[in-house]
């Protein structure tokens, strides 16, 4: 028999005495387990009780009576016990509880209504000025300073890194550094400081966090056939950051309340919320439009940086083929031949530029990772 209620009174501790409450036709039987000598029990007839709803969410049944020990208050949350009480207790008592519960519902409803109205009025004003909630999301996102974004990304990054083996130097790091350098040189007014981390893992994936941290797994580097292929993925990820896709996603998933909070400038509540979200960022999935946007702007960036964009397309094509090990990338990046096709079309529309090769030898970079270079299928 385990406790299902807490009893308060001057003879009990302030945190309440755990007890077991039984409901029968005569009234309540309260059995205290932890008092010595096999448990005290007290039987209280229904006639002696007064009933209300209480507790933090007003979901406790509060029963009061005056016993031999003075005034006693019982807090009952166990659903079965409450149901038994409502079925067995005389109507006038249950009625009282039902009324109390109803009152709480009304107060809550009224409060919700007031908030709903306030929000509704505000939103309709905003929506009257601009159309479409996507625009609203963008406005909210544009109000978030880059420093916030960096802090947010930074905490997620640290949480992630605590469990990972990082490659700090060597040909792979140098090669990614060169790619990042070539790409970021072509971003005008770049407010972000991009930092690329190579993590030792067979996972074929890479991801970007708001604020500029990009993580590339060695699995992806082993899978790629050339530096240009990895640069394609990098360019894609950098554009997720530049387009603030992570923030957009958060704002969208948190709903309009957050949007309102940001637009109203209540930063206090929001900072708290953001902190909680930091790691949810790591599990972020971007939407299809965001992927397409990152693909297209990524391709353009490659072009500007004079890195052969066909590497990106080739890599995407290869990942969409049936092949084990492609799962990781697919889970965050639904791949389809349509996606590669779209990029080909996009590339055809761009002016031709003669690419400049990287200074590193890709096979050597791969060899430094301790892997057999993967032979193209």
């Amino acid at each position: 028999m385990s406790s299902n209620a807490l009893c308060f009174g001057h003879n009990h501790p302030a945190s309440g005495a755990p007890c077991f409450v039984q409901v029968d036709a005569a009234g309540l039987t309260i059995i205290f387990e932890f008092t010595g000598g096999g448990g005290d029990r007290e039987v209280v007839p229904f006639a002696a009780l007064s009933v209300s709803a209480g507790g933090l969410d007003h979901d406790h049944l509060v029963v009061k009576w005056t016993g031999v020990q003075g005034e006693q208050t019982l807090y009952l949350k166990d659903q079965d016990a409450i149901r038994a009480f409502r079925q067995t207790a005389p109507d006038d008592l249950s009625l009282h509880f039902a009324q109390a519960a109803e009152l709480v519902r009304q107060v809550r409803q009224r409060r919700r209504l007031v908030w709903g109205l306030a929000l509704g009025m505000f939103l309709s004003t905003v929506l009257g000025l601009w159309f479409g909630s996507d625009l609203l999301v963008q406005i909210a996102v544009s109000r978030i300073p880059v420093e916030w974004e960096q802090k947010l990304g930074e905490s997620a990054y640290r949480d992630f890194l605590a469990q990972q083996e990082v490659i700090k130097e060597g040909p792979a790091v140098a090669a990614l550094g060169e790619m990042t350098q070539r790409l970021t040189e072509q971003i005008p007014n770049n407010p972000y400081k991009f930092e690329v981390t190579v993590v030792k893992s067979d996972v074929i994936n890479a991801f970007a966090l708001p604020g500029g941290h990009v993580v590339v797994f060695t699995g992806l580097m082993k899978k790629a056939d050339s530096g240009e292929e990895v640069a394609g993925v990098m360019s894609h990820e950098l554009n997720h950051v530049l387009r603030r896709h992570g923030l957009e996603r958060i704002v969208k998933s948190l709903g309009l309340l957050t949007v309102v909070t940001i637009v109203l400038g209540d930063q206090q509540g929001l900072v708290g919320m953001m902190k909680q979200l930091s790691v949810e960022l790591l599990t972020l999935k971007f939407g299809r439009e965001q992927e397409t946007e990152a693909d297209v702007t990524g391709l353009q960036l490659l072009q500007r940086a004079k890195i052969d964009p066909s590497g990106m397309i080739k890599f995407f094509e290869r990942l969409s083929e049936k092949d084990e090990g492609r799962m990781e990338w697919l889970s965050t990046h639904p791949m389809s031949t349509a996606r590669a096709e779209r990029l080909k079309a996009e590339l055809a529309a761009l002016p031709k530029k003669s690419p400049e090769p990287f200074t590193f030898d890709w096979k050597q970079v791969q060899a430094s990772l301790g892997a057999q270079p993967v032979v193209a299928p």
């Binding site: 309440g16 755990p18 949480d159 949810e280």
Partner: protein, 227 residues
């Protein structure tokens, strides 16, 4: 889970003893030292995707670590980030506590932790963010505070007013309203406008003797501003 507070006062640690196979939840980063029999399981174990799927499948919250005595019995030393007291509560299955999100240090396996969204008005007004933790179930619960922990015992219908930022934990048998502080009540430099909680018993309210926000503001005045 047996636990003992070491060095009670401003810089305490807690020692928890685990029997073979037992596991507990701890705030991530709380671990100071442990026996080699203890494994720390964290979200990111199993790579990015493992974490991803666990997150979606189990809905576990990210800010906990699981310490598991997988290779036999052992002990772990845990400490909070900020200077302040540690308090150990025993949950017996009926009493439940709401805990402000920085207040949780560790909990036995039998403790059920839910992240609860506060109501819109409470969340917006209190400045504590929208999430609080609800602790229920059976077993040991370890909380930490900024400064000393003070326990307020409330009799049925007894009221007490507490500055929001000093809250650590409170029983779910209490109820509270958030009120705007009358002038002169509050010292919160950061929020400008102060809010207080009017608690109503019965139950316990644990408060901390220092206010993290005010302390931050106090520190900030000594940091030279660049530019």
């Amino acid at each position: 889970m047996k636990s003992e507070i070491l060095y009670p006062g401003a810089f305490p640690m807690v020692r928890v003893e685990l029997t073979a196979g037992e596991h507990i939840k701890a705030e991530s980063g709380a671990m100071v030292a442990c026996s080699p029999t203890i494994d720390i399981e964290s979200k990111m174990e199993g790579g990015f995707l493992g974490a991803l799927s666990r997150k979606f499948l189990t809905g576990e919250k990210f800010f906990f670590q699981t310490l598991r005595a997988s290779r036999g019995p052992g002990e772990a030393l845990l400490a909070p980030t900020v200077p302040g007291e540690i308090v150990i509560l025993e949950l017996d299955g009926v009493n439940e506590y709401m805990v402000q999100k920085d207040g949780f240090l560790a909990g036995a396996d039998g403790i059920v932790i839910e992240s609860k969204m506060q109501s819109l008005s409470r969340g917006l007004l209190s400045g504590e963010g929208f999430f609080i933790l609800k602790m229920s179930g059976k077993g040991t619960l370890v909380l930490n505070s900024f400064g000393a922990i003070h326990k307020i015992e409330l009799k049925p219908d007894q009221e007490y007013i507490v500055d929001n930022s000093h809250l650590v934990a409170w029983s779910s048998t209490t109820s509270y309203n958030i009120e705007k502080a009358t002038s002169g009540w509050i010292a919160s430099v950061t929020s400008g406008e102060g809010f207080v909680c009017r608690f109503r018993g019965p139950g316990l309210v644990y408060i901390q003797s220092r206010n993290p926000g005010s302390f931050g503001a106090w520190i900030r005045q000594f940091i030279p501003v660049s530019e």
